[in-house]
């Protein structure tokens, strides 16, 4: 029987609504969801291919070892033994639901040392989310974006989530005095429409903006801002200063304003949050990043090592058994010799929805489900799966449960973790300012409109391939 099932896209953090039409449980069509407040039916190139992700002929459908298909029980038993070793580690991709993140925390405490578990965010979204959670800048909603008299885009959010432009452009064109401005390292989709452009290093641009906002605020600036004024005047670079002063004046005087942040640099995120705090109560921050549920995952993950630490362990031999769920390590962490290090592992199991460079190196390959095939909380709302996982694919949560069972370890339910915001003080901001004076590292994976976070999924779809052929 035909059914229409509503869900959201998690290929960026905007969370656009979409409808999958199913026939006898099988997904057959994608339709636009006009009722969704976030996108009013619109979808970018990534969202348009949600259905193709479900039905793609290249999807992995069963566990494979040495070219031979395995049952899941047999697979879990094969992985459980080596995973019990003290030199084992687990990496899971950051496209989980909140529940799966809680299960991972629980699995880590029951089955592995916390330093042996990591969640992979190739674009550092976890660091940016944590950085923003530290500073009590008010988060902006879609309504705030739509009604913003002055929007400052940091980097090029239109290329990460083009649908956000729907609200930004609507706000810009709503009144003659409304402005869209940009702080970015180079020209991009946003800068074509920007009134004031600070093109250059993003940290430097934000420092200039912060310096000018504090000067404009005068005595009404918060204490931590006044205390940092001297440091800022010494550090903030002089180029772009006229434009930064203009931008600060426009932003401070606007009735409402939003800093639309799309960055992999946590220092830039903290600076943006400080700017919004100095500019007044009506100024907010909207974070648009690559991973759809980074905030939910960060709230439900406790402890854990960074992926870099585990990869370091693989390189120096202290980790000789590795299980990876969802992440294409070779594509996501290029240039650090991951491929040759992975070949040295005694045991390596890799799960993914599609075959990739990492699964090619694995001793056991696991088929994993994509978000549309999972029940769970994404973007702070409960979602139901629109279809059964392709073939014998399993969600990360199911796989972790199977592994815990095979290891004979009970998994306790994990609760959410509350993290309080910092009380901003002069010392914290002074450290931030001096940190911001150094150039930011380049993002690991550059985002484009047709690329999934780690680049391994949408490259298999027909539109990216058509674009490649055209190029």
């Amino acid at each position: 029987m035909a059914e229409r099932k509503q869900n959201i896209c998690t290929l960026c953090s905007l969370g656009c609504g979409l409808v999958i039409e199913t026939d006898a449980g099988a997904p057959v069509a994608l339709d636009y969801c006009k009722d969704c407040r976030v996108n009013e039916g619109a979808l970018c190139a990534k969202g348009n291919y949600a259905l193709e992700l479900l039905n793609h002929p290249m999807r992995l459908t069963e566990p494979i070892k040495d070219g031979r298909a395995l049952g899941w029980d047999e697979t879990a038993a094969e992985i459980a033994a080596p995973l019990s070793s003290p030199t084992a580690a687990l990496i899971v991709e950051g496209d989980m639901s909140d529940e799966e993140a809680g299960m991972l925390t629980s699995f880590a405490s029951a089955c592995l040392a916390p330093a042996r578990v990591a969640v992979s965010f190739a674009t550092n979204d976890d660091d940016v989310v944590s950085a923003l959670a530290e500073i009590p800048a008010p988060p902006a909603s879609i309504e705030d974006l739509e009604n913003s008299a002055c929007t400052i885009a940091v980097n090029d959010p239109f290329s990460v989530g083009p649908v956000v432009a729907r609200w930004v452009m609507r706000a810009r064109n709503a009144a003659r005095d409304n402005t869209l401005n940009v702080i970015a390292p180079s020209e991009g989709l946003v800068s074509k429409f920007a009134t004031i452009k600070l093109i250059g290093p993003v940290r430097a641009g934000l420092l200039c903006l912060l310096k000018n906002l504090i000067e404009l605020a005068g005595d009404s600036a918060p204490d931590w801002a006044k205390a940092t004024k001297g440091d800022l005047s010494r550090i903030a670079p002089g180029e772009n200063d006229t434009d930064a002063a203009r931008l600060a004046r426009v932003f401070a005087e606007a009735g409402s304003g939003v800093i639309l942040l799309s960055t992999s640099d946590p220092v830039a995120a903290r600076l943006a949050a400080c700017c919004s705090l100095v500019a007044g109560d009506t100024k907010k921050v909207f974070l648009l990043n690559d991973y759809g549920n980074a905030s939910g995952i960060c709230e439900n993950i406790q402890g854990g090592a960074g992926v870099e630490n585990i990869l370091g362990g693989v390189a120096d031999g202290s980790v000789d058994t590795l299980v990876v769920l969802g992440t294409d390590l070779v594509s996501s962490y290029p240039g650090v010799g991951v491929e040759s290090d992975l070949k040295k592992l005694k045991f390596f199991a890799a799960g993914a929805p599609f075959p990739n460079k990492t699964t090619a190196l694995a001793h056991i390959v696991l088929p994993t489900a994509i978000w549309l095939e999972k029940d769970g909380t994404f973007n702070a709302a409960a979602r139901s799966a629109v279809a059964e996982p392709a073939g014998g694919a399993r969600s990360y949560g199911d796989i972790l449960e199977m592994l815990a069972r095979a290891m004979n370890v009970p998994m306790a339910p994990a609760g959410g973790i509350s993290r309080g915001a910092l009380e901003l003080n002069a010392e914290f901001v002074a450290n931030l300012v001096s940190e911001a004076a150094t150039p930011a590292a380049e993002p690991v994976v550059a985002s484009t409109a047709t690329r999934f976070a780690d680049g391994s999924v949408t490259d298999n779809l027909s539109w990216p391939q058509a674009l490649k052929a055209e190029a």
């Binding site: 979808l43 074509k192 429409f193 391939q465």
Partner: protein
Amino acid sequence: MKKLLVDLDVCIGCTSHGAACNRVNHETMTFRAGEIESVGPIPVVCRHCEDPACVKACPREAMRKEEDGTVRRSANLCSGCRSCVLACPFGVLADSHDVARTGNLGVSDSPQETQLLGRFAMSKCHLCFDRVAEGKVPACVATCPTGALKFEEVPEVVEDTKKLLIGAHTLGHSPYVRRMS
């Protein structure tokens, strides 16, 4: 007749429309990338001319002006001779070689067959006549992130909103591209 309009004030040039067209119609080259100097990027799409040059130029009658006003291509009749590409005054129609590379025109379920047919057919916008018949808008309009693409009656738009039209001189004789004054 309803036609596609591009509101240049909000078009960010994201190419999502192309992905939607590719998904729904399996066509890849119905939109060409265009750019108006000092204005910005625009998608260039078939204008479904009142007196279409491509229909006149087609030696196999593969291009037809339908009763609903759309200009459509018959994939079975088209031989990919490029006469319509040369005839189109707006440079909208795709070269058959571009289509052949992508090899998917959606005219058959068999990949081999579509690849074969793809070599001999032009890619052509048909204004999603099947979606329009169901009361929907074309896929490119439905998906457009900023709402820059609209599917509207052109004369009414001109009269009601008194927009400054720039299509007459820069993009052709029909006012399908407008800029808010």
